[in-house]
Assembly symmetry: D2
Homo-oligomer: 484 residues x 4
């Protein structure tokens, strides 16, 4: 049960807090993950207060020194978090008071927990999204390399999980690269849209003291300052943006996961996952299960759940801050952690996958994947497409009944039945030629696949540099390091 001393707001209170209330009210068990951001924010705030003459230079020095020391304790794992102090902000403030006394009390000048938490979330998110961007770039790079390597490995392309037309493994891998590049773009867009400093909004109505919000924002590396104090403390759009991007990104990953599960099955046999990425069964000695592929497929559930969680929580809340918004952190943290883990896993697992070139090629020889190419032969001889399509469909149906395939029926017979030259049919039924005929932008001609793979690699290198540039520490972090 908390005592007045722990509750920084206890002045008007006469009753102790109900124990369950204290536990439910406290967020420190999870928001302590934003400790570094909380401290960096305080460094910037204190520095601005000093520059504006709102606190003494000596207070500033004491505050920065105290904060640096506290951060060291936190990073060393020796800091004692107190639930009765509710959250990361109050824990650090109280520790600062214990350590430096009166000046600590001045740090809260012209600041409220409402704008403080809004700031911390943005700083935390900035750091994590940049990390995620870096991991996505690595995944894209790794996939592009593999796509280059497998640019000319023939493979069945599927629609409806039915064999449809020939592609190459490299082409297939590059399809996923496209999705991951869009994910990266989304992450960077979230970063740009959230590049707004809420500090100075106070609890909801700004402050009566002559703060310099642009100064604080600059110290923290923000481009802009929030234009409206009520919005600054109640806006959680950047969290929704992140969760939306994460849900979409995890949907991509679930699709890759599903494919790996399928391709690693005995029935497909397209890929062997290395021991390092499978696990066995405690009962069935023969099993090597694609657990990781399954897990990343399944984890799309938790991230979609996280998104829904925050959408429901925010629904119908009037301005400005409401306590409901304390529920914003856990889904955010979980979604970002999960997404990053899955990206890292794919980054390491996909290059280690052992694709089975022969099995991939053999599958192409069975079935009727080149039926469209045969229809194109008819079109080339002046038959309207719809009629060509129908004639080939009838032919396929007849062959299926005979239990044979194009390959086994042979070009001569097929040419005779269709009334076109044998050579044209033979050409149409060559996988190698079929791939080379698909020679338009985005199609699986191996040379095109190779060029696209190289282009994707180059884009990844460029994006990596951009992410590094953005990861440079802001001025407040430099000040903090200097104070340590």
């Amino acid at each position: 049960m908390s005592t007045k001393g722990d509750r920084l707001w206890g002045g008007g209170y006469e009753e102790a807090t109900h124990p369950l209330v204290q536990r439910m009210n406290a967020s420190v068990s999870y928001d302590q993950r934003m400790a570094r951001e909380d401290i960096v924010g305080s460094v910037a705030h204190a520095t601005m207060l000093r520059d504006q003459g709102l606190i003494e230079p000596s207070d500033h020095v004491a505050i920065l020194g105290g904060l640096a020391a506290i951060l060291k304790e936190i990073e060393a794992g020796t800091f004692e978090w107190v639930e009765a102090r509710e959250d990361v902000h109050m824990n650090i403030e109280a520790a600062l008071r214990d350590r430096i006394g009166a000046p600590a009390g001045r740090l809260h000048t012209a600041r409220s927990r409402n704008d403080q938490v809004a700031l911390d979330e943005r700083l935390w998110l900035r750091r994590r999204l940049l990390g995620l961007a870096a991991r996505l770039v690595e995944l894209i790079g790794a996939l592009s390399e593999q796509a280059w390597d497998k640019r000319d490995w023939p493979m069945c392309g599927y629609t409806h999980l039915q064999r449809a037309q020939p592609v190459t493994l490299g082409h297939h891998l590059l399809a996923h690269v496209e999705g991951f590049e869009r994910d990266l773009d989304r992450v960077l867009a979230v970063l740009d849209r959230m590049d707004v400093c809420p500090l100075g909004a106070g609890a909801l109505a700004g402050t009566t003291l002559p703060v310099d919000r642009n100064k604080t924002a600059a110290l923290l590396g923000f481009s802009r300052v929030a234009r409206n104090s009520l919005d600054a403390v109640s806006d959680r759009d950047h969290l929704l943006d992140t969760l939306s991007a994460a849900a979409t990104g995890m949907t991509h990953i679930s699709r890759v996961g599903e494919e790996l599960v399928l391709f690693a099955s005995a029935e497909f046999g397209y890929v062997k996952l290395p021991d390092a990425f499978t696990t066995g069964s405690s009962l069935m000695p023969q099993k090597k299960n694609p657990d990781m592929a399954e897990l990343i497929r399944g984890k799309s559930g938790r991230v979609t759940g996280n998104l829904v969680s925050l959408l429901v929580t925010l629904k119908g809340l009037p301005l400005a801050y409401n306590k409901d918004m304390q529920e914003d952190k856990e889904p955010l943290f979980d979604a970002v952690d999960t997404w990053e883990d899955c990206v890292v896993l794919l980054r390491d697992m996909l290059p280690a996958a052992r694709w089975q070139k022969k099995t991939l090629a053999d599958a192409l020889d069975r079935g009727f994947l080149l039926a469209t190419d045969l229809a194109d032969v008819l079109v080339g001889h002046g038959v309207p497409f719809r009629e060509s399509h129908e004639r080939i469909a009838v032919l396929v149906n007849a062959l299926v009944k005979e239990g044979t395939t194009f390959r086994r029926a042979g070009a001569t017979r097929i040419a005779a039945e269709l009334g076109v030259p044998r050579e044209a049919v033979a050409d149409a039924l060559s996988v190698r030629k079929a791939l080379r005929k698909r020679d338009v932008v985005g199609a699986p001609h191996p040379a095109r696949v190779g060029r696209e793979a190289r282009a994707a690699s180059r884009r990844a290198v460029k994006m990596a540099a951009e992410v590094v540039r953005r990861q440079a520490p802001c001025e407040a972090e430099v000040l903090l390091a200097a104070a340590g």
Copy 2:
């Protein structure tokens, strides 16, 4: 990085596991919450194995003794959980091997982690749902008491958050009792539907050993045995049932939360929440915020998110067990914890709320809540309802323009304008009489409200007994206690 010795399935493996794989693969950080259930299940399984002659009586004694000792360590917090051992099952099995040697290896006879985890989840859920049922009963009891106490406190009834017709506070509280009773019914229905023992399903295809599944089920207090082994290990309906019930239950709670936030506002002023259930502001000294009411409103988000999480994860999974299903526990645990916390909070907070009788009554005197009663007077004098409605609407509109109310306009004038006896109008405009006229089943006549409150109390007492009856320990728990 795990070594063979830790991985119980490592026989066919030559590579070490990737560190991230080990972490993502491991569930022990959260599934250790099912340790008691895992041990109780093993006690039942071992006892059945002994009775069937599949293990020696001496092995049985050793296993039960070992398990009892391990449970003590776990409950004392001294048990060492090892991530490389993946999950609660393997941790306990390995600890048992360390402790009793060879007989530990025989415990896994005719059992797989697939049926084991299916069992543990059911046992855990049974315990927690019964606890939740008990808390719901207490909440219903507390609310019914308060409803009895406030059965005749007049209050505005609202639709569209507009004052509509008079009710009593007791009547309003009983509306929520109805929802909580349905929640309780849902919880009990989940318990009944999941009262099926999966043990003996093995990994997916039963077992070749002559186990007695009915025996194990009886030891564990189940009424039935799963009829199909594939279903037994892949069915997670009881989790979906629980999460669905939780999402609905939390929706109820969110509605109570919203009302408390509204009613505690300065504008309504209907209730004062005691200090023990509010918190202050670190910036604004005057604030006493209804944080708990807001939190329970907001937490409907996380529980809806948990439900979505599992629905997405299970979507499209083929039979039987898939690793994706490891993701089933965290949303389940979180939802049950959250729901129970919120029920307990309401149970304690609602009786402590200080309802403001005078403010509630004053609000009734403003506005036109008795317009429907006036319309009923016309109906009583033979005017068709639709015409009555229109005439009263015109009257109200005129009074609003004058800036007056029924009360201030007075019965004489209104009676004259409507062409009905003054006495009938005066009767219609008396809140006390208006309430007493609402004398049909479910209506707010204070005597009816009182009877309904008493009936709800009686039902709660009866349900409490039923829950206690169901909470009696099963035979396996008794054996475990005896072995301790």
Copy 3:
């Protein structure tokens, strides 16, 4: 733009309604689906009013006659629905007024649209859920028949989509029967829980007129009367129950859909779907796509979306009726329609599926599905399970490296390596014997599968009768038919 005459509540209004407001406010485009229920409810209400002396017998006769005539128009598709009349209730009331004049105005005595819509939803839901139950019973029956027919067709059982242990196709099909039986149970539970008549709750506070709520409830076939008027008009639990059950049921269906897509692929080749249930490609002449299997997998999305939709809408609403609740119908209607369509589709498609007995059996002979059985042989010779597991895992690994299988390696060699009698190994490697050894409750021994299939069929017959019993028309429906 609506005029006063159309708006039954227009008495106090001086401005016309904004056109978009009229459109958004109107629900008649979709709630007209409850027209029959609205009319049946009115028949019951009018009959009770007459019995209580609240309306004249002649009015009752006129009302019933008018309603019966209107219903005929509606069913004939000649009824003119008017958007400006907002909803199904006002459309029918206005049509009744046009048809029978003054008595129509008396029908709304002691009733509000709030309790009326609450009633209509329950009646509509009762009818539709009973229909759904009937379809589920038919699906269960059809699946059970097929399971009986295929009770001894050997098939790979899967975990992690890896071949795991032998089962039979009948056993596999029965796993899905279990899920559908739980779905049926859930539907019946929803029906029981919602068997409560809200009529008489008025807008929110009951009525001042001496209605007999039990009489109305009895006429409509309800067992109970809502105990609290506020709850009666704001409770939407039965909708959430239905949507929860639908989301779970559709998750089951999505799993069957996924399996059909997999099994119909060239790689598995386990099943051929008949032409009537596949569609072709407009481009690729050879394709026969399992569109229906895909669609029923994908439609789990819309139903989970429907559930979320209503949970979000209801979150945080204060008592009693709020306009937000108008949004409750479309997700409900869509979910029930979708679920029923998918059940019907499966009911017809599954019996028409052509399972490929030889392909199913061949898959069993490749791979190492009987590894667990081999481990059991060692256990039978006194080796602790964990050690047996490890030795078999090492053996499998060695054989995989050699590129051979148990079958090709042969029992003699394996027996030698394991140090057990050849005969025991040969037995363990016989699929036929392996299935017959799995002779415990719920395991795939063909005789057991047959018994379970027969038992499921019997349960389906019994449930069919129960559903028919519940579908008997209520007294109000009989009165309506008589008036027509």
Copy 4:
């Protein structure tokens, strides 16, 4: 039941389609909304085919003429949609064949329904998102005007729905402008990210014919061409982006809706909604319900549901096209329609709202909103903030017990108790001065609010021009118009 002639893929089929299959398979009932886009896409495709010499100029003329005529029929409502022709694409193609004969068959050259539907969705979405952007700009403009008008109307600012600090109504309205501007930004970002032409991807693997994808893209106003054919037909990110933005946007709208419901209540009384935007009760003659505010709050549910629907549907789908994806359109259409309706409604309703200046101001005089300002006075006199906070909290508590307020207690007494000059206290307790003291960026000083309102208006004007610029018809639309 469809006949071969209707099914463009029927060549290999011998059985008729099951009636339910035909209905479930058909999407024409809703995808006909993309008819214009389908036709525009065909115009561009045909034009490119002609330029590449793949069809004759005369065919091109016939095709364009036929398509223009068909579009006219569609827009006139006289076009006959045939369910058996499945979707919008096949309906239009068949109609074209009926109208112009053989050349119609050549239009499908080098195109598949897979890339065609991907294109149509992008074109439809582009048109609708630009329309939505225009509406958002209008809403922002309208709100900014109102904010300018009310820039100095004092109003309570809230946190936790408790009166917290003074703001102005203009300031409050501008908070919502911020959210709507972010929504607009998100819409434009979706438009940019989806500005990629999928045509030429064929069914999944490009085409063997020498198409010019860049030409087609340019005719349709796209900046880029999809780089990978598999991704082009299976990517639905732009739908997820739209739905995510819509869910966030509707969350904003739900918050405005909640505030309007609150502010229109008798208890708050801050706003009167005009008759055109409220509706009455069919039972209670006095009611004017804020139905529209409730509806837009509730409709956040359906849009969040739509988002979840598509996330679930896409989860775990392997490449490339799967039939599940047919389920992508209804949630998209519904979400865009709903969002736009709600934006339009707010655009018209908010300017018509009659804000109650006096009621807003009166609320400020009750309570203790200026407690923070009082604490700031102490800070100004050298008291550390935490101590100031505590002393004011104690003071407030004492006054509450007395049943008085700051205003009634008076500056003299308060100054004495706090030991600070009377004038400082009087200044702190003046709302007018309090607002003027909040003179930092984003704070509610009326002059700042005015400047922000003007700046927002200017941004809206600029964005309006940008949207108009983007709405210019593409070349294919010009060609189509010329052919009509």
